[in-house]
Symmetry: C2
Subunit: 191 residues, 2 copies
DNA sequence: GTCTATAAATCGATAGAC
DNA sequence: GTCTATCGATTTATAGAC
């Protein structure tokens, strides 16, 4: 059985509020209300509004990095590897579109120290994608002239989902992730 | 000779501030200060903070629609048409990355009425891209199974530029737009 | 059309009782 | 660890002089 602590209830409430209204437009009263608590109760479990954002953003960045790193290990063959990486990265942004929106859109609202920490995870995500492309080019299986730019473009497909995707909408996350994976292969495969 | 009115100075200041800190985190004092005016002067030229956002967002959406509509008219041949549309759409988001960020990220901060008006322009942009794909499929030149999803993906390349692109950075807008155009053609061309 | 001054509301965060 | 009450700062927007 899973016990949900008051601290976690507040984090879930913050995810809802930040994703819906943005960090700056969200009040601590709103977060407390969504968690069924008084405004003062927030500060028993979290230091500040920004520390709530930091917790959500750090967990989200780590989850996204984990997803793409695991995907990179599933295949040695470069085309299948890229396909899986793009599929899993896009699927994560669809399934976790609220956290994804906070990760991608509220980066600037973090303190400089927290932004630096999270920024390192972002660069690690980009490096993982670049390494997969470079490996495929080296094997002669992929045709990619601009590796950093193409890596960005492949990630952009998933990232931009958080702008409009709603779970329970007309399109499933799996459907969109599969489309992105197909498009990704066409973008990079040599022929 | 071009005369810049006080009203336009305030709009330019709002673009700077909204793009840098987001709409909710921007104060009317900040906008006034950037325009070299007192806080009260803002309300002589604009009704509210939201009406400043609406002005910027509407102009930005109209400019982006105009860019992609004009690009669609430059070629009859489907591949060249898609290439030009993606190039121009991405280039616009790079060159106007501050307005682009406001257009793409502050949609939710508009009033429901203004959001509906701007939303119609968004759907028109998507329709223009979808029509170009459908036409190419009909001519047998393009191979696109999921027209709406692919249209979204092609636009995502440009949209996601506003998340990180800075004019004067290590990569030029033309360089990125050309990359996106190349990738777009590979995504949709039949072979 | 610009300013100073301020109204009225709301914010993040804290004090202190229980 | 929860609450009510509130502090002190900040916000959008307005009033009224010039």
């Amino acid at each position: 059985m899973t016990t949900i602590t008051a601290r976690e209830r507040l984090i879930n409430a913050a995810v809802e509020a930040f994703a819906e209204k943005g960090f700056a437009a969200t009040t601590t009263r709103d977060i407390a209300s969504r968690a069924g608590m008084s405004p003062a109760a927030v500060y028993v479990h979290h230091d500040s509004k920004e520390s709530l954002l930091y917790t959500v953003s750090l967990q989200g960045h780590r989850a996204a990095l984990d997803v793409i790193n695991r995907a990179a290990l599933t295949h040695d063959e470069p085309v299948a590897r890229i396909r899986t990486m793009v599929y899993e990265f896009s699927l994560w942004h669809a399934v976790h579109s609220r956290v994804g929106r906070i990760v991608q859109w509220e980066y600037h609202a973090l303190t400089p120290e927290h932004r630096a920490e999270v920024g390192a995870i972002r660069r690690s995500i980009e490096r993982t994608m670049q390494d997969a492309l470079t490996d495929g080019v080296g094997q002669g299986v992929l045709d990619v002239t601009d590796v950093p730019g193409t890596a960005f473009s492949l990630l952009s497909l998933g990232v931009d989902l958080v702008r409009w995707f709603e779970p329970g909408g007309s399109r499933s996350g799996d459907e969109l992730a599969s489309l992105h994976a197909d498009l990704a292969v066409r973008m990079v495969v040599a022929r």
